[in-house]
């Protein structure tokens, strides 16, 4: 009980920001910046005023929100698996790393909006395209962090492995992966928010549904409050996903917090 109260207390910044936002938008009177009360009202009307049987989701939400979320989760998970595996392989093999790093640094600097049409010619329209785009966009920070993490494993850990003839596989799973995990988790934490961004971006081109598509329509109709509901929705999603992620991380990195005496 007490922990719940203290947890909520830590959210003090949200009401403060909301009030400041409300006041400043009301003062500025700029059409582009509706006050949060208007946005929240629209958010409710647009997405959450559905029947109780549908967990209050409107048809609009079911049509646009759920597919987006599905792709988000699948794309993120896929990207993380691919990127961690590739990052560790490259981090542990100087040859592979030298051979592939120019290509990696090349591709991660190309703006996804320029590449999505090219993906589209291969995947067609729809979920495969969005998944590809999410995987592509999300992989880089995870890949880079895993690569660096796997590359700079304390030498003595590796020497210990060699001395005791620990097999390559165990070395990877029991030593290199945990040793790199603080850095990998940094990459994953970045990637959670990035996945949301890529989810939106991927729905800007060659898509006919999803939050991004809804945002695109709102943009071309200049339906400002709806544009803002999408932004707020993303923020809320980011907040929730991050909280879930931190729980998972706490669980996996218990040793690290103990060894590093953090919190």
């Amino acid at each position: 009980m007490k922990t719940i109260v203290s947890r909520i207390a830590w959210l003090w910044i949200l009401p403060v920001v909301l009030v400041a936002w409300e006041v400043s938008t009301r003062a500025a009177q700029a059409v582009y910046f509706p006050p949060p009360s208007v946005i929240l009202a629209r958010l409710h009307e647009l997405w959450f005023s559905g029947p109780a049987a549908h967990v209050f989701l409107t048809d609009e939400a079911a049509h646009h929100l759920l597919p987006s979320l599905g792709r988000l989760v699948a794309g993120w998970a896929g990207a993380c698996l691919v990127a961690i595996a590739a990052g560790i392989a490259l981090g542990r093999s100087a040859v592979l790393c030298d051979v592939f790093s120019p290509l990696i640094h090349f591709f991660r600097s190309v703006p996804p909006p320029l590449l999505i049409p090219i993906f589209m010619t291969m995947t067609g329209i729809g979920t495969p395209l969005q998944l590809t785009a999410i995987v592509f966009g999300v992989s880089w920070p995870v890949l880079l962090n895993s690569l660096d993490g796997a590359r700079y494993v304390d030498r003595q850990y590796l020497e210990t492995c060699e001395v005791f003839g620990i097999s390559r596989f165990r070395r990877l799973t029991r030593v290199i992966l945990p040793a790199a995990s603080p850095k990998i988790f940094a990459g994953l934490r970045i990637s959670v928010a990035l996945a949301l961004i890529m989810m939106i971006l991927s729905e800007f081109i060659g898509s006919t549904e999803g939050i991004g598509y809804r945002m695109l329509v709102a943009q071309s109709e200049l339906d400002v409050p709806t544009m803002w509901t999408a932004i707020v929705l993303l923020g809320i999603l980011g907040f929730v996903l991050n909280a879930a992620f931190l729980r998972f991380e706490r669980h996996v990195l218990t040793w690290h917090r103990g060894a590093r005496k953090t919190d």
């Binding site: 210990t160 060699e162 005791f164 003839g165 165990r170 060894a259």
Partner: protein, 287 residues
């Protein structure tokens, strides 16, 4: 088991090993002593295949060391960095045992046994960072012992434990050696210890290190903390080793030639000599 000939190693411009020659027979326990920073750990790493020496040869079981030889264990000097903080103590000890085959159950039993031997049965479920320095060091020893290697390299393995635990661990090493017949190279700073546990004591000069003394220890077996240390040969040998080490430090090993007497530590420093002209001390006549 182990043949080292003309082994040299330089870190950049700095020469740490200046031509080390050493042979260790199967089942022997050789102690290496020498001044701080002389190159003992470097020598150990070369034997363990963790360092490619810049010159000379190391043969383990007749094969030149290119990579880490099979069936080897090392207790690192920097033990705290060689335990994995993400695993419990028991997992740290049992991890290498996969190599030995056997199921999980038998590995766990072997790990527990080794932890009991070093006096840490209660620490099995803890993480290394929850242990004191000496306890961590003992975990590192337990890991190496549980592994039962053919060749064990120990770099100051008892440096962080109290006197009594140290004696127990010395006896433990002797007992394990007796029962499994493993070959052991043990680096130590404690001259008494080197004489007590070693079949031979090898003395290195300051760096570039060379072997300046190689004394055979012929003390009655099995050794015993009380009886052995009271044995006149023990007292004589430790004085001799002390003199060799000391000689190295302040110059040449010439002083080692002066007769042995009890209380080596009480002896005055040997006169300053140019190490370049000094001859390596001969193997002690006692051998």
């Amino acid at each position: 088991m182990l043949e080292i000939s003309d082994l040299t190693h330089s870190y950049g411009a700095y020469q740490a090993l200046g031509g080390v020659n050493l042979t260790v027979a199967e089942g022997e326990l050789v102690c290496v002593v020498g001044p701080s920073g002389c190159g003992k750990s470097t020598l150990l790493r070369s034997i363990g295949g963790l360092l490619r020496p810049t010159g000379g040869r190391v043969l383990v079981q007749g094969r030149p060391v290119e990579k880490v030889p099979d069936d080897l264990a090392i207790v690192f000097q920097d033990y705290s960095r060689s335990l994995f903080p993400w695993m419990t103590v028991a997992d740290n000890v049992s991890l290498p045992l996969r190599r030995r085959g056997g199921d999980r159950r038998s590995r766990d039993t072997a790990a527990m046994e080794a932890l009991e031997q070093v006096g840490l049965p209660a620490a099995a479920g803890k993480y290394p960072w929850e242990l004191s320095g000496g306890m961590q060091q003992r975990v590192a020893i337990a890991r190496a012992l549980a592994y039962k290697p053919a060749l064990m390299l120990m770099d100051e393995p008892f440096g962080s434990v109290d006197a009594q635990t140290r004696e127990d661990l010395e006896d433990l090493v002797l007992q394990v050696r007796r029962s499994s017949g493993m070959t052991i190279v043990l680096i130590t700073h404690d001259i008494d210890e080197s004489v007590y546990v070693g079949d031979r004591v090898v003395v290195l000069s300051k760096s570039p290190a060379t072997v300046v003394g190689d004394l055979r220890v012929e003390l009655p077996e099995p050794r015993d903390q009380i009886a052995t240390r009271e044995h006149p040969d023990f007292v004589h040998l430790r004085a001799e080793v002390g003199r060799l080490v000391r000689g190295m430090r302040s110059g040449g090993p010439a002083a080692a030639e002066t007769g042995a007497e009890t209380g080596a530590e009480a002896e005055a420093d040997s006169p300053e000599l140019d190490p370049a002209t000094a001859e390596p001390a001969p193997v002690a006549p006692k051998a």
